[in-house]
């Protein structure tokens, strides 16, 4: 080789990135380029020329084991006259460090004989690293893909237009489609239309922020059923930053929803029972009825405010923990009560209670045992009402009734005796005067006749008065129990009794439909007869009496009215009408004792009603009276009954 050519060759060799060196038949370095020096950390070619390159740079394997020359492929290139290539070995630098290398070795020939070899090589550290990285990354990807593939969590990726990309078995299971079916599938079908709208919000957020969104929705499976799912959706952008694909992790939350629901229910039940507890607790505490809870051995464990107050204590603490005997006037009573409760579960009765200050009062109590879920008695609940006032009222009422009853009997007795004793002399007077009349009628003068008439008349009136007084006194004591009474029958009876009077006065008596009421029938006949009789008595001279009876119904009473076309009564006399012995008209024009209306009033009042009148002098009068409709409940039925009830 000429110098010039050598120079050119050296320039070329030194400008390459590859490291190049030559070796002779023994493997000694014949030349090396700049890159060789650079890569292997030598300063000078002279350091290498003539030295065995293998010994210098290829002496060991990476793991530190010796790499014999004979094994070296480069040497083989010489011996076997072949090109060799390797990329999985290392070269050793001058400083003892190594680097992965890729080399090619070419045998050099001259005149048909191998003279040595030329080796070119690269430091493939980077490449190796990249390869390693790649491999690692490949490995990782495969592992990840496998994990994803095998995962029980459904995973799916789709393109914006809905085309399915990647998905796993679990996704197939979730959606009910096979792998093949999903490969050519519009994923948008999976979402029910109503959800598509709703999830738009999330997708917009995702596109805007790029942050994964998490929400619940439903999928329609292949068989048409809906499955509730939870999704975590991610966005993949392309290089231009535009949304390219969505991928998501799905979770079938059917069970969760069931659990949720059950939990909700359970929570609700708990809340309700909590609420109930709160309410019953409140009810217990704030009730105006004194209530307490007592343990089975008779110790007070809870009381409400009312209990505290009723027993005259100041606070709960004074009572809680005390034996129940403290609040009974007769402590032994409670043992008997407890036994009853333990046996029957219930005790209702009255007992004498003792207040804090020692005073006693009567209580009506209801005590019952409190049971746990197994039905075992765990405590005693007691609800006690102070009935002292009621008992007093009852006693008073009873005493009042007894007095009233006695007073009515006294009245009747008085009236009876009075009338009986009065009747006797009256009878004498009347009878003998009449006898006189019969015997001596034509033998006396007109004056005597008049005298006799007046005497007889007087005694007759006296007799009527006495009869009426007796009737008046008997309204309560001879009153019968109220019974179903047909007022039309009562009307008939009354008018029949007045037959004579009706005939004499040429009267017309009519009635509207009349009700059936609860009343003392006989007394009602008395009332009606009296009122009609008055109408007949006090008629106007020029007109025949016309009487009309009618009835009106209200919510709680009947109003009966008896209307006449008689002489009428001035308003100023209304009140006096109903008392005993009033006198309004000249007596010889209108006979009658005047006690009739007092009797009516007494009877009506016995029935719990009222009586009054409206009248216009010269036109007529209407008497009204009421009968309450719920007389079954009125105590005025009979005095004996009333006393019995007490």
């Amino acid at each position: 080789m000429t110098q010039e050519n050598e120079e050119k060759l050296r320039l070329i060799l030194d400008s390459t990135a590859e490291g190049i060196y030559g070796i002779d038949m023994e493997g000694n370095c014949t030349y090396c380029n700049r890159s060789f020096l650079f890569m292997l950390g030598y300063g000078n070619p002279e350091d290498l020329i003539g030295k065995n390159v293998h010994e210098l740079i290829h002496h060991d394997h990476l793991d530190g084991t010796i790499y014999p020359l004979e094994a070296c492929p480069i040497f083989k290139a010489i011996t076997n006259r072949e090109c060799v290539h390797s990329d999985d070995e290392v070269f050793w630098r001058a400083d003892g460090t190594n680097f992965p290398v890729e080399y090619w070795a070419y045998p050099q020939e001259k005149g048909g004989f191998v003279t040595g070899a030329v080796v070119t090589f690269f430091d493939i550290t980077e490449r190796k690293r990249m390869e390693e990285d790649y491999r690692k990354s490949e490995e990782r990807s495969i592992l990840l893909a496998d994990l994803l593939e095998k995962s029980s969590q459904p995973f799916g990726l789709r393109f914006l237009d809905g085309r399915m990309g990647i998905f796993n078995d679990a996704f197939c299971k979730l959606t009910g489609y096979s792998k093949e079916e999903l490969s050519d599938f519009d994923a948008l079908q999976l979402t029910p239309p109503e959800w598509l709208e709703r999830e738009k919000v999330f997708f917009d957020e995702l596109k805007e922020t790029g942050q994964p969104v998490h929400y619940e929705k439903e999928y329609i499976r292949k068989d048409g059923s809906h499955v509730p799912i939870e999704v975590l959706v991610h966005l993949l952008r392309d290089d231009a930053g535009q949304p390219k694909q969505y991928y998501g992790f799905f979770t079938d939350i059917t069970e969760k929803k069931k659990m949720d629901f059950k939990l909700q229910e359970s929570l609700e039940r708990f809340r309700l029972s909590e609420e109930k507890l709160l309410i019953t607790d409140f009810a217990f505490k704030s009730s105006i009825t004194p209530q307490a809870i007592v343990s089975l051995d008779g110790i007070i464990t809870q009381v409400n405010e009312s209990f505290v107050k009723t027993w005259g204590y100041d606070s709960e603490d004074e009572l809680i923990g005390k034996p129940i005997s403290e609040i009974h006037a007769n402590p032994n009573e409670f043992d008997a009560i407890i036994s009853t409760i333990k046996m029957n579960g219930l005790w209702i009765g009255e007992y004498e209670a003792r207040k804090k200050d020692g005073s006693s009062f009567i209580v009506l109590a209801q005590k019952s045992s409190v049971l746990d879920q197994d039905g075992k008695q765990i405590a005693i609940y007691t609800s006690d009402t102070d009935i002292t006032a009621r008992k007093n009222a009852e006693t008073e009422l009873k005493s009042t009734l007894v007095n009233l009853s006695r007073s009515n009997r006294d009245l009747e007795q008085f009236a009876y005796v009075a009338s009986h004793d009065l009747q006797e002399p009256l009878r004498m007077v009347s009878s003998y005067v009449k006898l006189l009349e019969r015997r001596y009628k034509d033998k006396l003068d007109a004056d005597a006749d008049d005298f006799i008439n007046f005497a007889v008349d007087g005694s007759v009136r006296m007799q009527n008065l006495i009869n009426d007084l007796l009737l008046f006194s008997r309204v309560h004591t001879r009153g019968k129990e109220f019974d179903i009474s047909n007022f039309e029958e009562i009307f008939d009876a009354a008018t029949k009794n007045l037959g004579r009077q009706v005939e004499d006065t040429n009267a017309t008596i009519t009635h509207d439909p009349l009700p059936t009421i609860m009343a003392d029938r006989v007394q009602m006949v008395q009332v009606l007869q009296n009122l009609i009789s008055n109408g007949l008595k006090f008629h106007r001279e020029e007109e025949a009496p016309r009487i009309h009876v009618s009835a009106k119904e209200t919510d709680d009473e009947w109003i009966i009215s008896v209307q006449d076309n008689g002489i009428g009564i001035e308003a100023q006399y209304y009140d006096r009408l109903f008392i005993i012995f009033p006198r309004l008209n000249e007596k010889d024009k209108y006979p009658g004792t005047g006690i009739g209306l007092a009797i009516c009033k007494r009877i009506i009042e016995r029935h719990g009603g009222r009586i009054w009148l409206e009248s216009e002098p010269g036109i007529g009068s209407t008497f009204f009276f009421t009968i309450p409709r719920n007389l079954e409940n009125t105590p005025g039925t009979s005095e004996e009954n009333l006393l019995e009830q007490l």
């Binding site: 006797e424 009256l426 009878r427 009347s430 009878s431």
Partner: protein, 148 residues
């Protein structure tokens, strides 16, 4: 009047303490055509004596009818009635209780003691006349009295 009417004069015993009433009864009886003898006992004791023909009454005839008031001195009319109706000799005589009492107890008791009937003296004289006539009519023209 039936054809079997008792046309003989009848004897009535009136047991009554009130003279005015006695007189009234007598006058009322007078008005009737039936002939009768009215004997009067003023109290229960006298009445029994009369009926037992004791003392001054030894010669009297047994009455055909007794008009008996209830309220009598010495021996009450109710006692007289009881005694009468238990006496085999006297129990057949019809006893008409003629009294002013209207008391239910008196009425019931009298019937229980076998009074033949009970009549309340009316206050009105005309009525009284009617009653006495009715008694006479019924007991002396319609009814068969026990033979003496």
């Amino acid at each position: 009047m039936t054809d079997d009417s008792t046309m003989r004069p009848v004897d009535i015993l009136l047991v009554e303490d009130n003279p005015a009433d006695i007189r009234l009864t007598r006058e009322a009886l007078k008005e009737n055509k039936i002939v009768n003898t009215l004997a009067v006992a003023l109290d229960g004791v006298e009445a029994m004596k009369y009926l037992h023909k004791q003392g001054k009454y030894s010669k009297v005839t047994k009455p055909d009818l007794i008009l008996l008031d209830l309220n009598l001195p010495k021996k009450d009319g109710r006692e007289v009635l009881a005694e009468l109706k238990q006496d085999n000799n006297l129990k057949r005589i019809p006893v008409v209780i003629l009294t002013s009492s209207q008391a239910e107890e008196d009425i019931l008791k009298s019937y229980n003691l076998h009074a033949n009937c009970y009549i309340t003296k009316p206050v009105d004289f005309d009525q009284f006349l009617k009653v006495v006539n009715a008694i006479e009519d019924f007991w002396f023209t319609i009814v068969k009295l026990p033979p003496p």
